[in-house]
């Protein structure tokens, strides 16, 4: 019995030592390590896709673009020296959690990881320098191929380093039901003032739905609204990665939120959460006369069932406060090279070439439904002339492409997920429960500043 006790004691002690050891090694994480150059490290990687040339060097990729396998096949077909090996298809939050876990474990991340612009600062700030600066690998050569706004996004507010190759953007436009506006004889709004009037008019004339919807959980989307009114809510620069600027209670933000609260009180806009089954249904069943949303709504609407009979969908420029409002954007992503890349140079080359030819861009636009940041595609006549079936063959890109073209880039916080969650709570209280706009936005500002300071950032 005593010997068994001893064994148990040893096991316990071993376990403790293990955890202490694990902690010790965990405490010095962060800091950029030297670039990898092992061309054979991925030889035995298990790929989801079928690699065309098994003898070539492999570069691993995590991505959840729709139809990404087609893009990978295209890349592998056109390259002999290097092959893309797709190792995870996890989407957004799940993908980030996977990446964070791999960072903590110091191994297991892919060479190239798809990241939304808004998530990039989190992995490139403070001690978290996990994205490779592509400047060392000649990224400046392809700079002019992309829209300036998208390029700003991958520079993370700085002007020196480039932390990814921009892939897509989400220019915001207004999708509307022409049949509803026609039926009630209401003019299509072009300014917010007109938008409210049109909403009231539709309601007065007996339209049962709402002119639109403000989603309290719309996260990135809502920042686009603030930006349109001149509200630069977040400041962050890769030049000075330990400083953040938070300005969520400025006069511009208050103006926007007050305006929507007023419309919600008047009963002309809904305040439904996005990305729920109910929201999907209401998008197409005649509950909303307009949907102001990002370009990816095109593919999304296309895929929804239960489209109301007789509906005629069209696209128009989103309403503005003045005639010169900035082009606004919601979302978009880049291919980033991680500090765990086995062969950093090769990974950077793949990231830069993956979407970098006409055929890849065709697949990205036609099959994946991505809105291009690639100038050649954005300006191509075929792209602009393409009629979209869902919108009765309207050439919607003539409206959306200029918005993508004029986008100036946003800055996001290194703890954007937290800021988003806090925004959802704030907006739900304001729009659903009619809480005081000033108090709630001030409280949100305070919460974010406190969090930033707690994380060690200097708050501007």
């Amino acid at each position: 019995m005593r010997s068994i006790n001893k064994v148990l004691g040893l096991v316990l002690a071993g376990a403790m030592a293990l955890s202490v050891g694990a902690c010790g090694s965990g405490s010095d994480n962060g800091g950029s390590k030297t670039a990898g150059s092992d061309a054979h490290a991925n030889d035995s990687a298990k790929c989801i896709n079928k690699v065309k040339n098994p003898k070539a060097e492999k570069v691993t990729l995590w991505s959840w673009y729709p139809q990404v396998e087609k893009l990978i096949d295209h890349f592998n077909d056109t390259h002999n020296d290097v092959q893309v090996c797709w190792t995870s298809s996890d989407q957004s939050a799940k993908a980030y959690s996977r990446f964070s876990t791999a960072i903590k474990a110091k191994s297991g991340a892919a060479d190239i990881v798809q990241l939304e612009y808004a998530m990039m600062p989190q992995y490139a700030s403070g001690v978290e320098k996990h994205l490779v600066d592509l400047n060392k690998y000649g990224v400046s050569k392809i700079k002019d191929n992309y829209t300036p706004g998208a390029w700003k996004d991958v520079q993370l507010g700085g002007n020196k380093s480039v932390y990814g190759v921009p892939v897509d953007v989400g220019p915001v436009v207004m999708y509307y039901r022409k049949d509803i506006f026609d039926k009630y004889g209401v003019q299509l709004p072009t300014t917010w003032d007109e938008y409210e009037k049109a909403g009231l008019e539709l309601k007065a004339k007996g339209y049962q739905g709402h002119i639109g919807n403000w989603q309290p959980n719309g996260t990135l989307f809502n920042y686009a609204y603030y930006d349109q009114a001149g509200g630069k809510v977040f400041k962050y620069s890769a030049n000075d990665p330990e400083k953040v600027g938070i300005d969520v209670n400025s006069a511009s933000v208050k103006k926007v939120v007050t305006f929507w609260q007023k419309m919600a009180k008047e009963g002309i806009v809904a305040t439904d959460d996005t990305d729920t089954a109910a929201w999907n249904k209401k998008n197409v069943d005649g509950s909303y006369a307009t949907i102001i949303h990002a370009s990816w709504m095109v593919g999304y609407l296309n895929g929804l069932s239960g489209v109301q009979d007789g509906s005629i969908w069209q696209v128009a420029k989103a309403p503005g406060w003045t005639a010169n409002d900035p082009a606004i954007n919601c979302g978009g992503s880049a291919l980033t090279v991680t500090d765990q890349a086995k062969d950093t140079k090769q990974a950077a080359k793949v990231a830069m070439e993956f979407f970098g030819d006409d055929q890849a861009q065709d697949i990205a636009v036609n099959d994946s439904g991505l809105y291009p940041t690639w100038q050649k595609k954005l300006k191509s006549q075929a792209f602009l002339d393409r009629g979209e079936k869902f919108f009765n063959n309207q050439k919607i890109n003539t409206i959306i492409a200029p918005v993508a073209q004029n986008y100036k880039g946003y800055q996001f916080l290194p703890f954007q997920t937290y800021a988003n969650d806090e925004q959802t709570k704030t907006l739900a209280a304001i729009l659903r429960d009619g809480a005081n706009v000033d108090t709630k936005l001030d409280a949100w500002e305070k919460t974010l500043s406190t969090y930033a300071k707690q994380q060690g950032f200097t708050v501007e």
Binding site: S100, A277, A278, Y418, G456
Partner: protein, 308 residues
Amino acid sequence: MSKKKNNVVPHGTKSLSTTRANRWGWIFTAPFGIVFILFLVVPLVYAFFVSLYSYTQVRGTIFTGLANYKRVFTDPIFLNGLKLVVLYTIVMVPIQLLFALLLALVLDSMKSKFASVSRLLYFLPYAIPVVIGALMWGFLYSKDMGPFTSLFQLFGMKAPDFLAPGSIFGSLVNMVTWQWTGYYMVILYSALQSIPTDLYESARIDGASEAKIALKIKVPMITSSMVMVTIFALIGTLQFYTEPMVLRNNANSAIPPEYTPNMYAQALEFNYNQMNYAATVSFALGLLVVIFSVLFMTLTRKQSGLED
């Protein structure tokens, strides 16, 4: 005299048979013991060590001792979550217990085929996985797709919004009660079945009514099971997680990501990348659950038969 002496084991040493029995005892418990240590004790110890460090994005991970614990017990989000689960406990546990007891007593006094059919029916919700149950209720509660909207329309009324911030509490209480009452009922029912029936007979001869038998004999006889059920419900509710997590997909802004302490720990770890603080929250919650359970067991020592 000498015979007696032989039977007494000398003080301080153990007989051969006891040592052997001990060894076999250890061997038999070893499979459980190893799994227990590997998957419970080790992670627990590890989590505690992790909670002694702090991570910030700018400074990285540093040893901070018990500072995280000081932070968690003054963290309004954690304390609010805690308040909420305590409130859930106060509301939900008595409701479940009462329903379970009532159903068990009714089923116990029925001897027809109907009884076994209804026993199965009451138990059925427990057989449905919690996630599926929550998804199903999410659909039922939905303003736009659920059946309540059209049901209320029949009477010319507007259906209440079950997923609004104000009504989400009641909606979740209903979901959990629906799912777990049947399970608790089965435990109480089987306890009732083990009561010897001659007790009832003598009570009947003494002129006790069925209601009186239920109240004065059956209920006191199963108090130990009732205490057990309450502890199950208590621990389950304090660790409230799955139902609100699933329902969040339908009521994103009514249920914030840090609604309950468990959800808070999850959000900290997987959304905000704060492993150390998440470990602290988990550990603090575990500590409180243990305290609650021990407190409850001490208070009900007499009823539960745990006195000795």
